[in-house]
Point group: C2
Chain length 251, copies 2
Amino acid sequence: MTDCSPTPISLAKLRLACGNCSLHELCLPVGIGLDDVDRLDRIVKRRRPSSRGDHVFRLGDEFRAVYAIRAGSVKTYTTTEGGGEQVTGFHLPGELIGLDAIHTGTHPSSAKVLETTSLCEIPFDHLEELSAVIPSLGRQLIRIMSREIHSDDELLTLLGKKSAEERLAALLISLSNRLQQRGFSAREFHLSMSRNDIGNYLGLAVETVSRLFTRFQQLGLVTANNKHIRIERLEDLRALATGSSSCQPRG
Amino acid sequence: MTDCSPTPISLAKLRLACGNCSLHELCLPVGIGLDDVDRLDRIVKRRRPSSRGDHVFRLGDEFRAVYAIRAGSVKTYTTTEGGGEQVTGFHLPGELIGLDAIHTGTHPSSAKVLETTSLCEIPFDHLEELSAVIPSLGRQLIRIMSREIHSDDELLTLLGKKSAEERLAALLISLSNRLQQRGFSAREFHLSMSRNDIGNYLGLAVETVSRLFTRFQQLGLVTANNKHIRIERLEDLRALATGSSSCQPRG
DNA sequence: CGGTCCCTTGATATTCATCAATATCAGTGG
DNA sequence: CCACTGATATTGATGAATATCAAGGGACCG
């Protein structure tokens, strides 16, 4: 019941897992044929849920597979010379992690599970073979990587140009958007990462993050109960995130 | 002589351009066959040199091609709501730009030439077709994009965690490494970008960049004559860049 | 040679990090 | 169920790093 091999469950059921997966359109090419879905299905290993603190992979690990998140959340981070950590991303269902390892064959970052999380493991050699046979699969992979590059560039702007307030607002808006896109509430959600992780990711001290949450509450922008977040004034928060607001306590 | 169409020159000569290009191993899969090089050659459009200030593409432009830099340098940047600019990268010969546009079909950033620069234009639809026929080409593209994602993540660490000194040192070291890899001097080179661009890229004010150059000179780390840079103590600069030094004026 | 842009330098202001103390939370075992 | 423990969060006081403001000096271009 609790062994570590890919959960076998019912083969017939699994066989259609990708086709039925709610993340379907997030990770599959739009026009992919049914038998192609089946072929993809066969190379994907569904792993039993990981729990908070587990590593999906670690810096230095040999690159064998990319991972799709089915449920839960993951943080990726690198370790700097001094032993310091830099969080490079928070990843939600439907997202692919491990893409940065392709070019060297070794993971240049680590991935840690933030809450109970289900992952699909996609062995990369199989994915490459399959991409050669199903061109739209390769194209989709390239598209996903392109999006990744673009969103990293946006993050650069965030860290390079924005104030602490704008950064936190931007993170909350990003999470809100991504959750909504996946069918969750845009206004109310659970922050699976610690304040420390948030600060690290945004390039801020923990204390600053904490003060910001307090200030946002005073301004009536959000209600934050520990990890539970409720966005009260979504548009104002969005305005703050894009820098087009001066953050007044309601005009 | 100075029309805008792809320079025709000698067809026979061009036909082998990719094979002879000094950037060969940077943009071609290692094990690619001769006739495959030929096929790639045929889809690549060599454009006549662009001059400083020219745009390769602009934010909002329809995505048609990616561009390889043969000689010269390019900066990429996005424009924020407030009209502000965020420089997202400086690109040297052998690098590919425009990859962030693939997933939407519209360029989310602009690319501006920093000095007289030769570009190869690679129409993306042709590249996709060719990748379906030459699997190693598609794989190489994916590898290049993977590297891009990884280097963006490193930049995130730079902006999130490092001091002003460390940032500038890291930029100089990065340029030095990349130039050396391309056969140029690692210790002496021309900064084609303005102080403004550097500050923008590093998330610093121009004045700070200027002061840093002064300080680096006082410390004997570099000699900077306007745009001409000479690295005097490469290892010390590298140590500073990785944060493993306290920047003493020579111990 | 004049104009404009870019760079440098100095003085001051601001933001955010750091230090320190307390408070809260999530487990753990009694 | 409660007390205990370590991790995590909040809050306040202080300081350092860097932005901003202001002015002068070069470099490049017509």
